[in-house]
């Protein structure tokens, strides 16, 4: 007797809880599989996992670190989710992030306003706007190319990432270098996003807590994206174009315009992430401000199944992996878990479309015994 797995197409809608259940199941399974791999190289997975936990959620300081790391992932993840919803494969989050950081920094570096006299709120308000403009610009380029000339956005966004990185490098090496280092001078305090640590004098508890206001941008953005997708006309148009562009055109929608708009919106969110990073974390424009947040953001969006609320949760999980990964040698362990998680979550989608049928096969494999077939809602 043997067993045979067979996938059968679902003829009815899957239950509402199933997507969440398969995602959570996939994440847990990823930890189990990673555990076996760690075990096979002689490590103790349980010890590593518990260390992961304490390193990321063990203290207020580390939790704040996790949220700081999660902030850019959240913003980029939201932008990616919106564009993926329309089946636009914007993977230029990295470049849009850098351009956002660059444009925001220009407020200080040029400077665009008098940094001595302008109130703080105006300075970083302007930085926010500039950051979003920078990101949106790097969304606009592939958007126009795609909408008007049907140039594949995967290629253009990917290539623009390099352009953005080296554009940035040019200015920090060439023009604004701080004594020859690959970074600009530290920004004046007026251009810093408020951090909890700034209030350590009043509240002892906050000392050393680096959490900055960027996370609020992220949360507000999540709410806005959720409203766009679920409540607004624009969200309806995005979903319709994403599902069937021909039907959308038949219904009188302007597809060209919407492609460009979605690209710009998506880019603006990544640009805002860049601004938050220079203004809230490093306080200068420098090399490698992103630890490939742009690409992780893509993964975050997929893991969250393009759901803005889930993007919040997933980006925190990823933030934790980044923070814990710093403390574990080799640091590849957290990438290992990330990779396996992504693989499993994406493959778990198969269970939304198919049911798993386990069939007992006898020795006489020629004659099946359909009576013995069990259907099982897998998981």
């Amino acid at each position: 007797m043997g067993l045979r797995l067979e996938f059968q197409k679902r003829t009815e809608d899957h239950p509402k809880w199933l997507p969440a259940a398969t995602s959570i199941g996939a994440v847990l399974l990823a930890f189990v599989i990673s555990g076996f791999i760690l075990k096979s190289v002689g490590a103790d997975p349980l010890y590593i996992y518990s260390y992961f936990w304490t390193a990321s959620f063990g203290s207020w300081g580390s939790i704040s670190d996790v949220v700081v790391k999660a902030t850019p992932l959240l913003l980029i993840g939201l932008g990616s989710a919106l564009s993926f919803k329309m089946r636009l494969w914007n993977i230029g989050g990295e470049g849009q992030f850098y351009m956002g950081a660059f444009f925001a920094s220009m407020v200080v570096l040029l400077p665009m306003v008098n940094l001595q006299t302008t109130p703080k709120i105006v300075v970083f308000g302007l930085m926010m706007v500039m950051g979003m403009v920078g990101g949106a610009l790097f969304g606009f380029i592939p958007g126009v190319l795609r909408a008007k000339y049907n140039i594949n956005e995967v290629i253009t966004t990917l290539m623009l990432n390099y352009i953005a990185v080296y554009w940035n490098n040019y200015w920090i090496f060439g023009k604004y270098s701080d004594a020859g280092f690959q970074m600009t001078k530290m920004f004046p305090k007026v251009a810093w996003l408020p951090r909890l640590a700034d209030y350590a004098k009043q509240y002892k508890f906050f000392s050393g807590i680096t959490l900055h206001a960027g996370v609020i941008f992220g949360l507000i953005a999540a709410v806005i994206v959720w409203i766009i997708l679920n409540k607004s006309r624009w969200g309806y148009k995005i979903t319709l174009i994403g599902d069937n562009p021909k039907a959308a055109r038949y219904a009188g929608l302007d597809i060209t315009k919407n492609i460009i708009l979605v690209f710009m919106f998506s880019g603006a969110l990544a640009g805002l992430a860049g601004m938050a990073e220079v203004s809230g974390v490093v306080h200068r424009l420098q090399e490698r401000i992103s630890t490939s947040y742009g690409f992780s953001g893509v993964i975050v969006a997929w893991l969250a199944k393009l759901n803005p609320v889930a993007v919040i949760i997933v980006s925190i999980l990823f933030g934790a992996l980044i923070v814990a990964g710093r403390e574990i040698q080799p640091s590849g362990v957290s990438f290992l878990i990330q990779g396996i998680t992504l693989f499993l979550v994406i493959s778990s989608d198969v269970l939304l479309k198919y049911t798993l049928r386990i069939e007992r096969t006898g020795k006489h494999s020629k004659s099946i015994e359909p009576e013995a077939a069990l259907t099982e809602e897998a998981k």
Partner: protein
């Protein structure tokens, strides 16, 4: 399982007590089916009756929960279509699976072990040619698929199966995509193949066609056999229909005589290019009045699609298109919609609906930006759901809930959904392209009734159809298209199939006056237009001086696929 029962005859295929359960649905309920060698056996039934499911069981795509299958008297159990093909069974699907940029021969060789590495196409061209000649199929093995008509592509699909040595052919609604003449040719070919010993299963829900082609037939209704292997002698169409749908079908539509009203749509020297940049519409003049159905007849690919696209704002053109006096030529689809146009597209899944979205989201596709569905930037989904529920009720759309994805609806119900959306907007003009194609008898009746009702209400209806019976029973006037021109317009009283058939092949030209009673002169129409538009008209008085640079084919990058490869997402099945 029972041992092989002694039978007096060895059937090519024998399916016994096939039961297949999908969650919540009994798709096949103890179905019996036998196929004799060298016969054409029609499998008749409405959409969703379980015909395709039964054939998918035979092809090894589904495992039955119970029952047994015998091929040539031997019990078989297929795990995949590969096994079925090895056993000599092949299926021609409704949607062809061909590579447009490859030749006929290359398409036939796809997936075969032979040739192994070196491809001597010439040798295989000859092989294909010989095979085609053997069965009297006309095809040039070296032509590229995209150059072929739909009928020719179907021949390639048949050859593909024959080349693989199939003795048993399953044809899934083969005539649904063919013009009448092509359908007749196909039927001749099939009969020839049967004479040479091939056994053919012919899935259909068109009664007249089944009576023309089949030796025997099996009828399915709601997963059960209502007639098993009966011969056709002495059976009326009506009794077949009632076996199929379980009730009597009225074949006579109630069409009342009514006088046509004011002109709603007027086309004036409209020309357009097709996707291959060839002239597809040549100086088309048309007019259509309130309460009138104008049928457009023609063999597929003679400019009908382009005509519809031009009117609905999906394709650029030259000339004038006046809808209620407003020029809508070269405006956006939105302009046409705003001017009171409803469009029932040919491709229900690919164009008419968003397959993965809910009923609600499909219903509001054209009025999502109006009260009460939306105010300012918001969409009021409560109001939208309410509207969807109303329409679902009113148009009797059979779906579990309004949350159901459009792709899960059967063809007939999807068409009802589209009609509900389009007709509920109280349109002035309805452009319907093949509104009943691929639907079962019951659904066809419903669609036709709805169109007639709109006619009574005073809408103008442009009906493009390849089903001449439908055109003759619904239309007030019939315009025949041939190579992008309207070769003649007939009043319904004077129209007969022969005349139309001759006009469709370009061998007869008729009078193409706009309307019997009242003639609108082009001068009247253009008087309402701004002068710049008039210049455009004057450049078009001479049809041969067609300036291509004036019309750029509507290249919308987001729409990658050409018209030929109307890929429809078949997920969800029937």
């Amino acid at each position: 399982m029972n041992p092989i029962e002694p039978t007096t005859e060895t059937f090519a295929v024998e399916m016994k007590d096939i039961t297949l359960r999908f969650p919540g649905v009994l798709a096949n309920d103890r179905v019996n089916f036998t196929l004799r060698k060298g016969e054409i056996h029609a499998l008749l039934g409405e959409n969703g009756a379980g015909k395709s499911t039964l054939m998918n069981v035979l092809m090894g795509l589904y495992k039955p929960n119970a029952g047994s299958i015998f091929v040539d008297g031997k019990r078989v159990s297929f795990n995949s279509p590969r096994d079925a093909i090895a056993a000599g069974i092949g299926m021609v699907h409704q949607h062809f699976m061909l590579v447009p940029n490859q030749t006929v021969t290359e398409n036939i060789l796809i997936g075969l072990d032979e040739p192994k590495f070196v491809l001597n196409l010439k040798k295989y061209d000859q092989k294909v040619k010989d095979l085609a000649n053997q069965f009297g199929i006309q095809i040039d093995p070296t032509s590229l698929i995209w150059q072929l008509s739909v009928g020719e592509q179907q021949r390639v699909e048949i050859l593909k199966i024959l080349y693989r040595g199939a003795q048993i052919l399953i044809m899934d609604e083969p005539t649904a995509v063919l013009a009448p003449q092509e359908a007749n040719e196909l039927i001749d070919t099939l009969k020839g193949m049967a004479r040479q010993g091939k056994s053919i299963i012919f899935i259909s829900h068109k009664l007249n066609e089944v009576t023309a082609v089949a030796d025997r037939l099996t009828i399915l209704r709601k997963g059960q056999t209502t007639a098993e292997g009966i011969t056709l002698g002495g059976i009326t169409r009506e009794s077949l229909a009632s076996l199929m749908v379980g009730r009597e079908i009225i074949f006579n539509l109630h069409k009342q005589e009514q006088a046509a009203g004011n002109v709603v749509l007027e086309l004036n020297k409209v020309s357009a290019l097709n996707n291959k940049n060839l002239l597809a519409l040549r100086d088309v003049d048309l007019c259509l009045r309130e309460g009138e159905i104008l049928g457009i007849a023609g063999v597929a690919g003679n400019g009908q699609s382009e005509l519809v696209e031009v009117i609905t704002g999906l394709r650029e053109c030259t000339g004038h298109i006046l809808l209620e006096g407003k020029n809508i030529a070269n405006k956006s689809p939105q302009a046409s919609i705003a001017a009171g146009l409803a469009h029932i597209p040919e491709d229900r899944i690919g164009v008419g609906s968003a397959p993965n979205l809910s009923l609600t989201k499909n219903v509001i596709m054209k009025n999502y930006d109006h009260e009460p569905i939306s105010s300012d930037w918001r969409i009021n989904y409560t109001a939208a759901d309410l509207r969807a529920k109303e329409l679902k009720e009113q148009y009797k759309i059979q779906a579990p809930t309004i949350e159901t994805q459009a792709r899960k609806l059967s063809g007939g119900n999807l068409q009802k959904l589209i009609l509900a959306r389009e007709l509920s907007s109280k349109p002035r003009l309805i452009v319907a392209m093949q509104p009943t194609r691929g639907l079962d008898v019951g659904a066809i009746e419903g669609v036709q009734e709805l169109l007639l009702e709109e006619r009574t209400q005073g809408s103008a209806i442009l009906l493009v159809s390849e089903d001449l019976d439908e055109l003759l029973s619904l239309s007030d006037r019939i315009a025949v298209m041939y190579e992008g021109e309207i070769v003649g317009t007939l009043n319904q009283k004077d129209a007969d199939i022969n005349t139309i058939g001759l006009m469709m092949t370009g061998s007869l030209r008729g009078d193409s006056s706009c309307s019997p009673e009242e003639q609108t002169t082009p001068a009247q129409a253009s008087a309402e237009e701004p002068t710049s538009e008039q210049e455009a008209v004057t450049t078009f008085t001479e049809p041969r001086q067609f300036d291509r640079s004036k019309i750029v084919p509507m290249h919308r990058p987001f729409m990658e696929s050409k018209r030929e490869d109307k890929q429809t997402d078949d997920e969800g099945g029937e």
